[in-house]
Symmetry: C2
Subunit: 135 residues, 2 copies
């Protein structure tokens, strides 16, 4: 498989406005986009930095996966997303290497992207999202 770049780093926070103040007003990154992702029950702010983005996530309720992560671990880096050339081939290669996949097939993420998650247990504690750009 072939990783092209780090698409984004996702940071879960309890207060998106405060986190945006830090990353936009103090660190000076632009906010390119904000979105309510209904299926993940989060609001997101995307701040491009070089050819990657910082994504700030705030859960919108207390029951979503991200909300439970926040309650258990506190705010911090939630996952990294790697852009790959071919997501189906990548999932096949990861499975052949014995990696535990959260999504055996690509699912639809923010903005209609095709994504899949690899379980942190088989990736040295890192939740890895794979993303293939639209062809």
């Amino acid at each position: 498989m072939s990783v092209k770049r780090i698409d984004h780093i996702a940071i879960v926070v309890s207060n998106l406005d405060e986190a945006t103040t830090l990353y936009r007003d103090v660190l000076g990154l632009p906010v390119a986009h904000t979105e309510h992702i209904a299926e993940q029950e989060v609001i997101v702010a995307c701040l491009p930095a070089g050819d990657s983005e910082i994504e700030l996530l705030q859960p919108v309720n207390e029951t979503s996966g991200v909300a439970r992560y926040l309650a258990k671990n506190g705010p911090g880096i939630h996952h990294i997303c790697l852009e790959v050339e071919d997501i189906e081939q990548s999932l096949t290669d990861l499975k052949a290497a014995g990696m535990q996949l959260i999504n055996e097939q690509p699912t639809t993420g923010a903005g209609g992207k095709r994504v899949a998650f690899v379980h942190p247990k088989s990736a040295h504690g890192v939740l890895i999202e794979l993303y293939e750009a639209a062809r």
Copy 2:
């Protein structure tokens, strides 16, 4: 202050060989560089991905800061490093915004880089390293 890009994502692992096997042989990223950083008591493998890098860190003893982090938290993402235009100005701006700094002045990191860390307590749980490229 002005952030130019994400320089690297640092992942602390207990076994650098196994982690390198995942990121190089399975994910397909090249290993550009490995280094023993004596002052941080770690060995590091740097794998470029787009205009950023994945840095895999393994502590070389059980007493370093990274080793204690690993013992407490398990393997996972340790910090993100942002390249800034002017590190002194960035530290001044962060301090003026009430951010807690680990390094009030730049210190010397891997490869002689000028770096400084911001405390995760004031950055929504994220340990942020700032880095200024040699001028």
